[in-house]
Amino acid sequence: MHRAAHTAFCDWPQFVRPAMIRQSLKCTGCLQNSTRAYSVVPAPRDSEEKEMMHRMLRVDHAGEYGANRIYAGQMAVLGRSRQYQMWDQEKKHLSKFNEILAENRVRPTALLPLWNLAGFVLGASTALLGKEGAMACTVAVEESISEHYNSQIRALMESDPERYTELLQLIKEFRDDEMDHHDTGLEHDAESLPGYWLLKNAIQLGCKAAIYVSQRV
């Protein structure tokens, strides 16, 4: 029965990779939530901290996922362009957050399908405005994300900088990458788009709403 269930779960197509299962079942000793060889997120002391950490990780994961979809939308319209390198970095960010979520048993936001669609549509529609449109969208989104990461860094520093050293380092690194993307966007004539101010603020408002909702759902 155990083997049947195990095989059934193993054969869940495309969803679970057998190597991962074997690995995770082998080190059943490592699956306790207190000790890990290396972990970016410290084991939470109480349920409040756990809630706060999970909320942070959930919204960060949603953000990177959305950013990925935006770049995918832009690439779909523009084809290979300067966006490509930035997209690569975003993919790395996303896979890192996937890892962290899985490790820490964090529930991903239920709105992921919505961000999937919305991100792609946003990327594609701004790319239809031309290269400057795509850059303007990049500038707006990266600015929102950097601001968001900054506020998280502030919150972690205020509560306990030593405890969250690795996590702070990670978020700072990601924030620096996002700032680079923002600057790249500005360099490539984002501001020359007509209606730039309007578009930028609209997108940033949308981002704020998305962040607010993803923290809660």
Binding site: M1, A8, F9, P13, F15, L31, R45, A102, R107, P108
Partner: protein, 275 residues
């Protein structure tokens, strides 16, 4: 609910428990012919000294986490010392101790305030202390559930022994009372999450939700089947479970095939449109 899964696993999977499986009927009198056939943990043999480490590893009925408990123990070193010294024990720990003791009286008094009173007296307090439990039998059942869940987690990780208690149907009906539903749902979702995690699921997208939903449905159905099952060693329930898992796998395969077919069709149409 967690006891179901434990029952399912213990009866078949864990061979080292086969000797313990034979034993239980002597320690806990079965009150209904459909009581659980699970391996039993001899609570008496789980020495009194173990009780504190045991109660520190059990979640209380308000479902605090394992980490929270060990940190409580760490910050209140004197609470681990003697059973009589309750000065530094939190109310939750006290409640947990009483409820754990009450479980031994369930076969006798049922899931009721009488069992809790007996438990309170066993711990050395007056039976008036049951006033602490405003939810009565609900508290007892929820405590049992959270104990079961944390033990299930241990089993999945380290393969330990289990607890046997009778009157499963009545316990489940208590869980369905409206004021108990949020807590029991929370326990159910934690358990399903644990099962998927230890089965190797590391998804971080919609699959996270669909998998857990499917498993919840499967688990509830199997639990209901088990209550009606009178075949030897729950053979019918096992067959039911095997079939349902097969169904789920088929469904997943079909979904995947449909997706591939859809993509192929879309590509074909695009190709046709272009030419």
């Amino acid at each position: 609910m967690a006891a179901l899964l434990r029952g399912l696993r213990a009866g078949r999977l864990l061979r080292r428990l086969s000797s313990v499986v034979a034993a239980p009927t002597s320690t806990t009198p079965k009150c209904s012919s459909r009581g659980f056939h699970c391996a039993s943990l001899r609570l008496k043999d789980e020495s009194k000294s173990d009780k504190h480490s045991a109660s520190s590893s059990y979640s209380s009925s308000s479902s605090t986490t394992h980490n929270e408990y060990t940190s409580h123990q760490d910050s209140d070193p004197s609470s681990g010392d003697q059973e009589q010294d309750e000065e530094y024990e939190t109310e939750e720990q006290l409640q947990a101790r009483i409820l754990t003791a009450s479980l031994e009286f369930v076969p006798l008094h049922g899931w009721s305030m009488e069992a809790i009173s007996a438990g309170a007296e066993a711990v050395g307090l007056s039976s008036a202390s049951t006033g602490m439990f405003i939810n009565g039998a609900g508290d007892l059942v929820l405590h049992f559930i959270s104990q079961c869940n944390s033990k299930l987690t241990e089993i999945l990780a380290e393969q330990h022994n289990q607890v046997q208690l009778g009157q499963a149907e009545y316990a489940m009906s208590i869980l369905l009372l409206p004021h108990n539903i949020p807590e029991s749902l929370k326990h159910l979702s934690t358990m399903v999450d644990d099962i998927w995690y230890y089965a190797g699921d590391r998804s971080t997208d919609m699959n996270w939700y669909t998998k857990r939903a499917v498993l919840t449905g499967l688990y509830n159905a199997t639990e209901l089947v088990m209550l009606q099952d009178s075949s030897p060693d729950f053979q019918d329930t096992w067959t039911f479970l095997d079939n349902r898992i097969q169904d789920v796998t088929n469904m997943a395969v079909t979904a995947k095939q449909m997706q591939l077919t859809g993509e192929a069709v879309a590509q074909g149409l695009m190709g046709a449109a272009v030419t």
